[in-house]
Amino acid sequence: MQINKDFTIQKVGASYVAVPVGETSKSFHGMVRLNETGAFLWKLMAEKDCTEEELVDALLAEYEVEREIAARDVHRIVEQLAENKIFI
């Protein structure tokens, strides 16, 4: 999965907010709200095409969580982003 480059993401209050810029802002109205884990994964997928497994590994390298939980979180966030048609 790789995220459409036409987004910018910033921390707003305690959450992260991603909004479209450029051409994408004409077709995508609104925003994507993410927690810290979501924003971490977002940034990875904005840099390069990642598989779910690579994302789980990256999460485990950064946070003290069990693989099972990390895998579940990654899957949930990837699904949510796919529903919002965020991927290229």
Partner: protein
Amino acid sequence: MFVIELAGVRIRIENRYSFIERQCRDFVCEGEDAAFAVSVTNDEILEEQKHGEFSDGYCESICLYRHICEELPAYNVFLMHSSVVEVDGYAYAFTAKSGVGKSTHTALWLKNIPNARVLNGDKPLYRLEPDGSLTACGTPWNGKENWGENISAPLAAICFIERGAENRITPAVEEDVIGRLMHQLYLRGSRQSVAQQLCLMDALVRAVPYYVLECNISDEAAHVAYNAMRKS
């Protein structure tokens, strides 16, 4: 061509129609130097006219403000769709989905709260100050009621309005605030401008208390809101 000052920023308006000159009358300033200039192409005016039967001059004005609001985040100034009432030196902002009753509630303040006057009824600007506080600033774009003045005041609170049978005001939680604000901010322009706008939004959520007001159209609605939001 003329220069106006909005929220402390000097802007050169390169216009083709005189509509904008009449509209900006109270905001014109001397001299030609400006932080930036804005102009509108014919295509943009034609595009705007697809939304309804408006004059060229009116469409030029709408497009000019859009460009202005894309440039202003670089100066720590941003647009938030809202109605702002000034009372005794402080600004109180109301925002709501279109049609909920911002104007009706604003009118209740004018009727019931001594010294209340409208700073801007629709499209005020907000300036982030170095100390993290916000100043609400009047603009020539002030909605169909044409309520507004060339004044500014420190922002005391922001209130999200909803219709209710009874009048009740409660503090809004931050999670809720971000979702509600998102619909009222103008997040357009270049990547840099949108990113800066989001930084300003981060300052905005920290700057003032937020409330949710469920209200009807009685005089009591204004008193309930003002008593909770009041800063002195």
